[in-house]
């Protein structure tokens, strides 16, 4: 897996940010009567990398973030680790699909799809781990929570992208001598 040095540096920076967000989020559970509901702040970074670069970079950041985050958070190879890994994989793939193949969605919509993919991946993995489909009853509740969490992260990302463009950093971050399907965020 080769990246140009410039992109490698940026990806490492994004990875450290995503890991920090992942850890911080693990420390402060949302005060909701539902176990396992999180905002998904680390997903912002995955989607940002997807906007700036390509699917390969985003997958590397997402997987490495889950590995590092669980290693530092003490959940490495615990059930939660596999849930997070499947969730991150499926959400990254879904978001890439939507971002590259359609042009209807804003960062907010793609964030919601990311949250949805994350939750569906987690439920799928939980079903496999528990060998029981009873957890499917959790699905409607999970679906409902993706709306506020996806909206929040999407709004944050939208502002982040606008800010990067404003400061002229967007072009600097993507100028790394590698091919990529550059797509400036629309409204």
């Amino acid at each position: 897996m080769m990246f140009s040095p410039r992109r490698l540096v940026f990806l490492s920076l994004f990875l450290s940010m995503a890991t920090a967000l992942h850890l911080i989020e693990g420390l402060f559970p949302l005060p909701l009567p539902l176990p396992g509901v999180k905002l998904g702040l680390a997903n912002i970074i995955t989607l940002l990398v997807l906007y700036l670069y390509d699917l390969r970079s985003a997958l590397v950041v997402a997987i490495a973030r889950v590995l590092l985050g669980s290693l530092l958070g003490g959940t490495f190879f615990a059930p939660g680790f596999f849930l997070a890994l499947t969730g991150a994989l499926i959400s990254t793939l879904l978001m890439a699909l939507l971002l590259r193949k359609t042009s209807y969605f804003s960062p907010i919509g793609i964030s919601i799809i990311g949250a949805l993919g994350h939750n569906l991946g987690q439920l799928l993995m939980a079903t496999i781990l528990l060998q029981n489909v009873v957890i499917i009853f959790y699905l409607p509740l999970i679906l409902l929570t993706t709306i506020p969490t996806g909206l929040t992260t999407g709004y944050l990302l939208y502002n982040l992208l606008a800010r990067l463009k404003e400061e002229g950093l967007y072009a600097q971050l993507t100028r790394d001598g590698e091919e990529h399907s550059l797509r400036m965020p629309e409204k």
Binding site: T102, G109, P140, I147
Partner: protein, 127 residues
């Protein structure tokens, strides 16, 4: 936010609602029929009646007679109410139907208490 975003949010919302409705229809409501909730009617701590609240049960009336007055209780399906009471303030009658676990009607002057007990199937779920 584009139009597609809004459509997406609405779709997720409706899927969730349909999911809740399906779970209720196929899992929770049959449970209530197999294991009906129970209502106990007591006067000054003595249990006068214990009634199964079947969702498809028939309408019936129960006459209560206590040391401090009389009352009529109406049971219809899985809900229950105080139809008439001899008390002066009629608070118990005006409370209307109750159907949820743990809810109750109390007639203080007549010393009548109607209480719906929780379903006997599941009283706690731990993870």
């Amino acid at each position: 936010m584009t139009r597609a975003d809004k459509i997406l949010i609405a779709t997720i919302f409706f899927c969730a609602l349909i999911g809740f409705a399906q779970i209720y229809r196929h899992c929770i409501s049959p449970l209530n029929e197999i294991f009906p909730r129970q209502a106990t009617i007591s006067c000054e701590g003595n249990i006068l009646h214990t009634i199964d609240l079947h969702p498809a049960g028939e309408k019936r009336l129960l006459n209560l007679r206590g040391a401090h007055g009389t009352a009529t209780v109406e049971v219809d399906g899985d809900q229950i109410r105080m139809l008439t009471a001899s008390c002066p303030n009629q608070i118990c009658v005006r409370q209307g139907w109750i159907e949820r676990d743990g809810s109750s009607i109390v007639c203080l002057p007549g010393k009548f208490v109607i209480q719906i007990d929780g379903s006997t199937v599941v009283d706690a779920v731990s993870h």
